[in-house]
């Protein structure tokens, strides 16, 4: 069965420092991988996706993610964190065409000034 793991419930980082939010997945075949962000009382917003091609994917708001097939990981990164990046982040995977996204449990990112 396919699954997504986000091993950290919370990540704390100071403004201006680099941030990483971890995600590992388990699917058979080639996965489609996504990151979403959720602000309080809002729906999920799409950040970026990996389908195929370059392992480093760039997305919205300066975020990027690196696909590592051997480690089955898709970690979200940003070189310099902003206080406004504080939110709940979800990693998601789609195992094959036609199936719905499976989400991880989420990681709360807290950026302090």
């Amino acid at each position: 069965a396919q699954s997504v793991a986000q091993p950290e419930d919370q990540v704390n980082v100071a403004e201006g420092n680099p941030l990483t939010v971890k995600c590992t997945y388990s699917v058979s075949g080639n996965p489609y991988l996504f990151w979403y962000v959720q602000y309080p009382n809002r729906g999920l917003q799409f950040l970026l996706k990996y389908i195929t091609g370059d392992n480093l994917v760039k997305g919205s708001y300066g975020f990027e993610a690196e696909f590592n097939k051997s480690q089955t990981s898709f970690h979200l990164k940003k070189p310099s964190a902003l206080v406004s990046d504080s939110a709940l982040y979800f990693c998601a995977v789609r195992a094959r065409a036609g199936t719905a996204l499976i989400f991880g449990k989420g990681t709360t990112l807290s950026v302090s000034s």
Binding site: V4, A97, G104, G106
Partner: protein, 115 residues
Amino acid sequence: EAGVAQSPRYKIIEKRQSVAFWCNPISGHATLYWYQQILGQGPKLLIQFQNNGVVDDSQLPKDRFSAERLKGVDSTLKIQPAKLEDSAVYLCASSLGGQGQSGYTFGSGTRLTVV
């Protein structure tokens, strides 16, 4: 383009009552999803529609939950009777197709509290 519309935003009901949620996806999006997000957890798929047909409802508690998308556009999710554990945010999302490459657009969700 207009986003995914959901209503109501909030709903409080007593256990054993019934409740319905409505979703209007982005125009032209063939695929519509209902997810349940319990506090502290990631969204869990309840049902996936492709136009007006059901693609996946394997995780829908069919003894109490039902959903329809009769004309292949907007959709309604119903719970009858509600239980305390149904307290959650119900998210509707839509995508252009079901082939896997497009992300979803989510609505703001309906927060249900069952007391």
